[in-house]
């Protein structure tokens, strides 16, 4: 125990006061010559033991009170081991980042309290320990979650209420973004000392973008806020098991409506797992059960074959394994489309005799792959005139030189009446002809062909490196429905290289047009425009390997399939129909739909009304649903103008947990923002913190004074009857 004002300990001499007063009191006793001494001594013998005990008790209590008072004024404290730094007790601007990501819903082996509840309790404890003058803000760490207290406030009740109201989401963590947001919030803080308290299970997921802290020089030369990590998991082992992938594909061997459901189960623990129960359900009813053997820190696949009965074209498949401490990732869902019936016309502008050199080789392969069930028809440009374009959900024009006037007119009508047109360019394309014939529906006029000047990057190991200079795609906005299925870093697209592409002529900004993808040099790569009731996508490079290696990249297939669906206004395929928590879902509005109802897994309903477009004031053709907070099935119903409601099973979608939340790997020590700062010579976050004892001691003194009073009154009243 140490003291803030040790000089006041001199007052401990006052501890002898009660004894001194006792002695003085004895000296001041009245002398009385008394005859009945015998009676008096007998009476004394009866009560002497109890009285002596009482006197000793009172003397001790009074001595303790007299000794405790200077102790209280000397402000004693002790240092206790804690995650809270000593700075906690100093006035400061504190920002609490509370990890509310999906992994915080798990429990530890030692108790059944979810980690999020422990984190919230830790936050309350932190609030209680902060100096009263401190300002506090609260930020949630999961991606896309609103900030409860966006500015530092001294109103603790408000912060506590926000903590009480906080719930654990199923979203993935985004610590980089949360700390970045925290730094931004703290820039407006009044207090010079700024600390970020991150209360988390220290999962490595969410730190992909770095620590989120600015450079030490910071804005205006100010040092960045200190980060303190409070680990609520306390390093406990988490041998998690999770269903990390679920796919469904046609299985002719199981019959005409046979389907193969393949689940991938991961074991994140150091011990192998045997006989792990796994159940397949269709539309909520279990149809198959089995067991799976999981190697240590490995994965296993389980393939179920099931013959679907006649009925709905969209079925709900769900796989669930035996529950562990994190049941949220023990199940995964997907939708199985029995027949989509979407017809696609692919116009090959550069046919070749060698199939693999054909312009549309990769495009057709992508559209037909993976049980997409698209009905793909390939035609030459000349054959377009004789076809009824309205039969097709979408049309892909690949490197078509110049459309004839008839074809152009047909295409314009097709698009303006609700059709979807995908245009990719190439050596054959006559930009002027296109601009002239189809300028009305092109998102932007075509310009000059451009050869990339950037130096090629080195390819991945084993990859054939094309030494031509190439452009790459810039980071893209995953909020666009077309890209919602892609991971944040754009795996599968970001590795693609573009050796040649076509520039687009400048055009005024229109709300109906958006650039979906750009090259690193800023030039548009994929542009989308709403035209009439239809939609056009313009890719400024080829769909074969002549100008780019995009067709051999993993992202090409989902990009083309999603483009086909988006253009057709069809429900999204696997990539989009199976969203992860937090992703947005665009739902097309039918001609008769007045509004859309989305029923969440919890049974709650949300009504979405199309907003008028800024371009022409007409209602948008789609609505965006953003509340995909919980894994499960989201059902969609359309409400018609005549009041009727129609189930739109094709638009229903499933939301799964982001599989990265299942990974128990913890953030390496050298990547922790708090350790990094300490290593860089910043303030060391001591594992001990000061615990002031004088409050406790003062309370004890009050209790002792009260007890002394009670005892004195009681003894005087009772007087040993």
């Amino acid at each position: 125990m140490q003291f803030l004002a040790p000089s006041l300990l001199l007052g401990l001499a006052a501890a002898v006061l009660p004894w001194f007063i006792h002695r003085i009191g004895q000296r001041r006793a009245n002398p009385v010559r008394f005859a009945a001494m015998e009676l008096l001594l007998r009476a004394e013998r009866q009560v002497s033991a109890r009285r002596r005990l009482r006197e000793i008790l009172l003397l001790l209590m009074r001595t303790a009170i007299a000794a405790a008072l200077p102790l209280v004024f000397a402000k004693p404290y002790t240092e206790v081991r804690s995650d809270l730094p000593a700075a906690t007790s100093r006035p400061q601007a504190a920002l609490i980042v509370l990890d509310d990501s999906g992994s915080m819903r798990r429990t530890r082996a030692s108790d059944s309290t979810p980690l999020f509840d422990r984190a919230r309790q830790r936050a309350r404890s932190l609030l209680a320990n902060l100096a009263p003058e401190s300002d506090v803000a609260l930020v949630m760490a999961s991606e896309g979650t609103a900030t409860p207290i966006p500015e530092p406030t001294a109103d603790r009740a408000r912060v506590l209420a926000a903590l009480d109201a906080a719930t654990c989401s199923a979203r993935r963590a985004d610590f980089t973004g949360a700390i970045r947001k925290a730094v931004q919030v703290l820039t407006s803080a009044r207090r010079p000392e700024r600390l970020i308290y991150l209360i988390t299970d220290l999962q490595a997921v969410g730190w992909e973008g770095g620590t989120g802290l600015p450079d030490a020089s910071g804005e205006g030369g100010a040092p960045p806020p200190a980060v303190v990590i409070l680990d609520v998991n306390e390093g406990a082992a988490w041998p998690n098991r999770a269903v990390v992938n679920l796919t469904a594909e046609p299985a002719p061997e199981a019959g005409p409506l046979g389907v193969a459901v393949v689940a991938e189960i991961a074991n994140f623990g150091p011990d192998p797992v045997s006989n792990l129960g796994i159940t397949l359900r269709f539309d909520g009813a279990p149809v198959a059960k089995g067991f799976v053997e999981l190697p240590a820190n490995g994965r296993a696949r389980k393939r179920f074959l099931h013959a679907l009965g006649a009925g709905a074209s969209v079925r709900e498949a769900e796989v669930e394994i035996d529950h562990d401490r994190f049941p949220l990732d023990d199940r995964r869902m997907t939708r199985v489309e029995v027949s989509r019936g979407l017809r696609i016309l692919v116009v090959d502008g550069d046919p070749r005799t060698v199939r693999t050199e054909d312009e549309t080789f990769f495009l057709e392969a992508a559209l037909r792959a993976g049980g997409s069930s698209f009905a793909v028809t390939t035609a030459l440009p000349d054959e377009l005139a004789g076809r009824t374009l309205a039969e097709y959900g979408s049309i892909f024009m690949a490197n078509v030189a110049r459309p004839s006037a008839d074809v152009a007119g047909a295409l314009i009508r097709y698009v303006e009446t609700g059709g979807g047109l995908f245009i990719s360019v190439g050596d054959k394309v006559d930009a002027d002809a296109w601009n002239q014939q189809l300028g009305r529906i092109l998102p932007q006029p075509l310009g000059l062909k451009r050869t990339a000047s950037a130096r090629p990057g080195s390819g991945a190991e084993g990859e054939t490196v094309d030494l031509r200079p190439a452009e790459r795609l810039a980071p893209f906005d995953r909020r666009h429905p077309l890209l919602a299925g892609f991971p944040p870093r754009g795996d599968g697209l970001s590795s693609a290289r573009f050796f040649q592409f076509m520039l687009l002529a400048p055009a005024p900004d229109l709300p109906s047009r958006s650039v979906v993808l750009r090259y690193e040099n800023g030039a548009p790569a994929l542009v989308e425009a709403d035209v009439g009731r239809g939609r056009v996508l313009l890719l400024t490079t080829t769909v074969d390997r002549e100008w780019t290696d995009l067709p051999i990249r993993p992202g090409f297939l989902p990009l083309m399939q999603e483009a086909a669906r988006r253009l057709a206004g069809a429900p999204s395929g696997e990539a989009v129909a199976a969203l992860t928590v937090g992703q947005k879902r665009e739902i097309a509005i039918g001609a008769d739909d007045r509004r859309i109802e989305v029923i969440k897994p919890s049974g709650e309903s949300r009504w979405l009304v199309p907003e008028p477009r800024q371009s022409d004031g007409k209602p948008a053709r789609s609505v965006l649903f953003a509340e995909t907070d919980e894994p499960g099935w989201y059902r969609v119903r359309g409400s018609h103008t005549d009041g009727s409601q129609i189930d739109r099973s094709d638009d229903s979608f499933v939301v799964n947990l982001d599989t990265r939340e299942s990974d128990p790997a913890t953030l390496p020590a050298d990547q922790r923002p708090d350790r990094a700062r300490a290593a860089a010579g910043g303030e060391d976050n001591a594992p001990k913190r000061r615990l002031e004892l004088w409050h406790l001691l003062a309370a004890a003194v009050l209790v002792m004074v009260f007890l002394e009073s009670v005892l004195t009154i009681r003894f005087r009243r009772g007087r040993f009857v």
Partner: protein, 312 residues
């Protein structure tokens, strides 16, 4: 204020108009006046003439022996048991009274009012005055650990004045030894007498009870006036007090907060009185307890009333 009596239930007399309290009595000029006032106060309202006592009273039977007056043969006894018994009578006016007053140092305690010795003197003076009025010889024995002064019982005129003078001159000193005083009286009283002892019985030896019993065995009437100061009943002190013994060579000391002891002290005091009351009851000794704030007339009346009832 307390007065109790044993042997016949006693009388707790309500105060009469003339039953002055001790402090009022102390304001009167002399002990003789005080004695007279006490006596008058004692008899006020009793409708009893103190001068109309029985002249001859039966005392005992004695087997007839040659020389006895045959007028006193109890013929009824002869008829019942066929033996001759002589009825013996005692002339009350001839009954001698020994008043034993404890003048030890402990009798000098007072905080307010009278000392126990003063109070005992008032009672003895009143009793002496009353006996003189009746023509009874009364003697006085002042004692501490030994007999300090002795006035033999006489009924001549002027004897009561000597008695009162002796009482007025009494002072508290020395240790107490009532047993020795009782032994002394036992030797002095050659025929049936009334022995009245005034003492506080504090620090009294156990032999006192034996001496009382012996006196009764010898045919004497014995009355014990147990006198205590109210402080010795209640212990009403409120401050830290250093208590010291009063009698010589008493080295007992006690530093205490009397409030702690009050309840226990009351129990001890009551036990002391109860013990003596039972001892007297067993020995057929008349026991009267009084505190020094009780009007002496009430105590005297109680005593006389008890004796009157005992005769009937």
């Amino acid at each position: 204020m307390a007065v109790t009596t044993s042997q016949n239930g006693g009388v707790g007399g309500a105060r009469r108009p003339l039953a002055l309290n001790p402090l009022d009595l102390a304001r009167l000029a002399s002990l003789s006046v005080r004695a007279r006032v006490i006596v008058e106060g004692a008899f006020a309202g009793m409708h009893h003439n103190p001068n109309a006592g029985t002249s001859i009273e039966f005392a005992e039977h004695k087997e007839y022996a040659p020389g006895d007056d045959i007028r006193h043969i109890d013929w009824k006894a002869v008829g019942r048991i066929d033996r001759y018994y002589i009825k013996r009578f005692e002339d009350e006016t001839e009954m001698r009274t020994f008043m034993l007053v404890d003048a030890s140092a402990s009798m000098g305690y007072k905080r307010r009012g009278l000392t126990k010795l003063e109070y005992a003197s008032y009672l003895a003076a009143a009793l002496g005055y009353l006996l003189a009025q009746q023509g009874d010889p009364a003697g006085l024995l002042l004692f501490d650990e030994k007999t300090r002064q002795y006035l033999p019982p006489r009924s001549r005129g002027g004897h009561v004045r000597d008695l009162l003078l002796a009482l007025e001159g009494a002072y508290p000193a020395g240790r107490t030894d009532p047993a020795r005083a009782l032994s002394h009286v036992s030797e002095l009283a050659d025929r049936r007498s009334l022995v009245v002892l005034f003492t506080d019985l504090l620090d009294a030896a156990g032999t006192v009870a034996d001496r009382l019993r012996l006196l009764r065995t010898h045919g004497h009437d014995v009355a014990l006036f147990h006198l205590l100061d109210p402080d010795e009943v209640e212990l009403p002190f409120t401050d830290l007090t250093q208590f010291e013994g009063m009698e010589p060579d008493d080295a007992r000391r006690l530093l205490t907060d009397p409030r702690d002891l009050a309840a226990s002290f009351r129990r001890e005091s009551l036990a002391l009185r109860e013990r003596w009351r039972m001892t007297c009851l067993e020995s057929r000794v008349e026991y009267l307890f009084a505190t020094t704030d009780t009007p002496p007339a009430d105590v005297l009346r109680s005593f006389l009333f008890t004796r009157q009832r005992a005769r009937k």
